[in-house]
């Protein structure tokens, strides 16, 4: 690892950012796929374990997104400011994909963390809000394919396809299924069950 870091020289931040972006894409795909499967009852099994796994994957994805952005701050070539990386359309670099990535990142973080405020938001309202996570994830995929330095490479496309296509299929399968009616009592029960 140290040898790799030494060999990569001043590109270490750039490589780290690209790697973290890929990891974020994979983890977010896993988390969204699992969430969609749970909500659509496409998977049977231990509900609490799946919920914990969904939560852990989503936190790990958020950490990877943070690393993806923070690592770029150290890149002396791209040399972005904090505003460039956190506010859409501030830097006129590879637009609109960069802006899409920033929006997707904030969306995934905000919608993911809203889980911890769901009783304040209201369970039914939070459920509706949480569905937009899939939209933020799709924006992230578009960002990766449009802006990613490696986006034209076969290995990148293969990794992206393995991560994204199953989740995309699950999202479409969920959209195709009729919506379950959730009563207020049912929502409260679900909230209690999920801790």
């Amino acid at each position: 690892m140290a040898a790799l870091a030494a060999a990569s020289g001043s590109h270490v931040f750039w490589i780290t950012s690209r790697a973290a972006g890929l990891v974020a894409l994979i983890l977010a795909s896993g988390s969204v796929g699992l969430g969609v499967s749970m909500s659509g009852r496409l998977v049977k099994g231990r509900g609490p374990d799946l919920r914990v796994l969904h939560e852990a994957l989503s936190i790990a994805a958020m950490a990877a997104i943070a690393l993806h952005a923070v690592a770029l701050l150290g890149d002396s070539y791209f040399h972005p400011s904090i505003a460039d990386l956190t506010i859409p359309f501030v830097r006129d670099y590879k637009q609109p994909y960069m802006a899409l990535g920033i929006i997707a990142g904030w969306g995934l973080v905000a919608l993911g963390l809203s889980f911890y405020a769901r009783t304040r938001i209201g369970i039914a309202r939070w459920r509706v809000l949480h569905r937009f996570t899939a939209l933020a994830w799709i924006l992230g995929v578009v960002h990766a394919l449009g802006e990613g330095t490696d986006s034209g490479r076969a290995w990148f496309l293969a990794i992206t396809a393995i991560a994204v296509i199953p989740t995309l299929a699950l999202v479409f399968a969920r959209l195709a299924r009729p919506r379950r009616k959730v009563s207020a009592a049912g929502a409260a029960r679900a909230a209690r069950a999920s801790g």
Binding site: M1, L4, A7, S8, G9, S10, H11, W14, I15, T16, R18, A19, A20, L22, V23, I26, L27, P48, D49, V52, L53, A56, L57, A60, A63, A64, L67, S76, Y77, F78, H79, S81, R91, D92, Y93, K94, T149, D150, R153, W155, I159
Partner: protein, 139 residues
């Protein structure tokens, strides 16, 4: 201040407490596993990007090199930074400069790095020579 006797926090039976403790343990284990998988994934992706994404891709001729990619990135960045001159005033690291210089030499007779980037794009022989230079300069 609520006591344990309050109706909101009912006293749990030993059986329920045991089940709850097992669930907490399982939760911790799952979280640790996900964290470990994420770290392993990060290391693997880092190695993949490092290996296939440019820095050591010297002989394949298929993958564009790090120097090529970075020069292209720089050309795109220079366009965007035209309105922000402060961003371009920072000194480039020596490896970057060496790779950009080699790329420009191979592309022949261009003084602007942005022009070099556009001319060397898609030229694998140029890319190969430039990445060799990068590897040499970095080692």
């Amino acid at each position: 201040m609520q006591t344990s006797d309050s109706p909101r926090t009912p006293r749990r039976s030993p059986d329920a407490a045991r089940i709850l403790a097992a669930r907490v343990r399982r939760t911790k284990v799952l979280r640790r596993r996900v964290a470990a998988v994420a770290l392993i994934l990060l290391v693997c992706m880092w190695a993949t990007v490092f290996g296939l994404g440019g820095a050591t891709a010297t002989k394949s001729g298929v993958t564009a090199t790090l120097a090529d990619v970075r020069t292209k990135e720089k050309a795109a960045a220079s366009k965007s930074a035209a309105t922000r001159p402060a961003a371009r005033t920072t000194a480039s690291p020596s490896a970057h400069t060496a790779s950009a210089n080699t790329a420009s030499a191979a592309a022949t007779a261009t003084t602007s790095q942005a022009t070099t980037a556009s001319s060397s794009a898609g030229d694998t022989s140029t890319a190969d020579s430039s990445v060799t230079a990068v590897t040499t300069s970095q080692s």
